[in-house]
């Protein structure tokens, strides 16, 4: 009987104490700064610059340091990368890359292509805002014009490849392509696109 009474009143004191404690905890969180980062328009700097250093965003290729080894193409598990090489017609000793396409709409950002690259030509940037007016613009053609192919880069021993700053080439490319309208599904002569 005495124990039952103690248990009964124990429940009451437990409830009062835990309520008190719980209310102090929630109030203390109300007075702290929320964790939320207010993307996109209330940031001190660009979101891409605030991401962790190993963030895997859109792929970028610096053709100036690409050796044309095709290791990335072989590494890609879903065949997103397409590379074609040829001989330079004017200089038979020099081989050139005539096509280097990455379909970012299919890319799964696994990072397997980055690892075998001998010069760091292909790398993940911190860019992630890949909304384009046309999905075709997500196929990044790093050799823009097959008539002006990129020559193979020969690494110099004991010297790092002079790669362009990460993200610079990509941002320039995206600024050019992101507003290109998709072809009309009705074909030419259909309603005018704005």
């Amino acid at each position: 009987m005495a124990e039952a009474i103690r248990e009964y009143f124990g429940h009451i004191t437990d409830v009062v104490k835990t309520f008190y404690q719980g209310l102090t905890v929630t109030l203390s969180y109300m007075l702290r700064r929320p964790m939320t980062v207010q993307y996109p328009d209330r940031l001190e700097k660009r979101m891409a610059d605030m991401l962790p250093s190993r963030y895997r965003g859109l792929l970028e290729v610096d053709m100036a340091v690409c050796t044309g080894c095709m290791a990335c193409e072989r590494a890609c598990p879903i065949a997103v990368i397409k590379i074609a090489t040829d001989k330079d017609p004017t200089n038979p000793k020099q081989r050139v890359i005539t096509q280097f396409d990455i379909d970012e709409s299919k890319c799964m950002f696994c990072g397997l292509c980055v690892e075998p690259c001998p010069t760091g030509a292909i790398q993940h940037t911190h860019e992630f805002e890949s909304t384009m007016k046309s999905v075709d613009s997500l196929v990044f053609r790093w050799v823009a014009d097959p008539e002006q192919p990129a020559p193979f880069y020969r690494p110099v021993k004991g010297q790092d490849a002079p790669r362009a700053p990460l993200g610079e080439i990509l941002r320039k490319k995206m600024a050019e392509t992101s507003w290109i309208a998709p072809p009309s599904i009705l074909g030419p002569g259909g309603p005018k696109q704005d």
């Binding site: 209310l23 905890v25 929630t26 109030l27 203390s28 969180y29 007075l31 700064r33 939320t36």
Partner: protein, 460 residues
Amino acid sequence: MKITLGLDSTSLTRRYPRLAILVTLFMAFGVPLSLYVAALAIFPLNTPERLNAMAQQWLGFNLAGSPYRYLVYTGFLLLVAFIAVNYTAVFGGVSTWVERRVAGRMQSRIGPNRTGAAGFLAWVADAVKMVLKEDTIPASADGLLFRGAPYFSMVGLLLPFVVLPFGESTVVTDMNVGVFYVTAVTAFVVVGILVSGWASNSKWALFGGIRGAAQVLSYEIPAGIALMVPVLMAGTLSMQGIVRAQGGYPWDWFVFQNPAAFVAFFIAVTSSLAEGNRTPFDLPEAESELVAGYHAEYSGFRLAIFLMVEWANMWIMGGLAVTLFLGGWQVPGITDEMYKAALGTGLVPSPTWFVFQALSMLVFAVKTWALVFTFIWLRWTLPRVRVDQMMSLCWKYLVPGAFLCFIVTLLWQLLVPPVGVKITGIVFTVFALVLLVKFLIDTRRNIDKVKGDRVDLSNW
């Protein structure tokens, strides 16, 4: 200038920040304030004698002898009802915004902050969205009851406003059975819940409805008994009479005047939380168990009514507790005689009277909002209780506790002289203040426990 009036309110808010702030200020202060002013202007007039006298003096029209006098009286009643209903809706909307922002910060996030300044217009956007949605009635539902259920809930929400005071004279009517009336009409809400649960012809809705019925019927008992404590202390059932029996200073409030009333206050608040289906007692709608409970099948405007009832009920719960236990609209330092003197005998009271009225309304609103904030705060602190816990809390703890408070209050009224009541009031006020300070210190300590955390109210 090209203005794209899309449905993207965000862009408008950001494009015209000044306009957004103006609209927000208007909705946040202008609308409630104009309702308060209208209430202050019209509620005290709302007696046949006053209307007759005014018609006689200003229009030279003998209203008392006119055959159309009841039309005029009814018109005024409708005006009063219009103000009260609008106040309910605005409060319901604003409290959803407050709840979401408070909940957000308590969970280290921000909450709605895009529509209007500080996201205040989110509730207007929500309401517009709700009204625009399709109003569906399930094929196998009982159409008449399904359509009728929101009305019961709505009526249960609006009827208490007849006696719930806003201020010294701003009350629709001062019934001599006020407390009894409130406990009776708030039960209408559960009729709505039960009917909607049944009429939806869905098992989750039915579970919700049955749970709601069991819960509200159980908690009527401790609530009713606990509400009797201030009635015993004041010796009247009239809401205004109970407020007049208290005073402006905390030690004159009923909650601090005897230990039993202190306990009864918590019992009454807990029971009213359960009756209003607020977490931790939101079993009828338990979204993780019953989808949305009794309103799972509702959409559009009918759902909006259910949600509005749920949130606006907080004003009733808070207002009732403030009226009965926390001194109601009593302003410190202003006595009944001063109100009477300021009123005078003329048709239009003196400006002092209006100032006093405004002060009393402000005091009542501030106290009620403080309680509403506590309800919100409790919701984001406690998890939902189980059905058996809910039942055992009611029958094993609150009902005996309420009866004990009732008996102790009876004895207290008989045995303790007025000096003793005064001393108890001061002791309990000091105790409450000490508890508050300790509470804030403990809160501060919780923040300091985490390295690098500090009191920071930025990031809105």
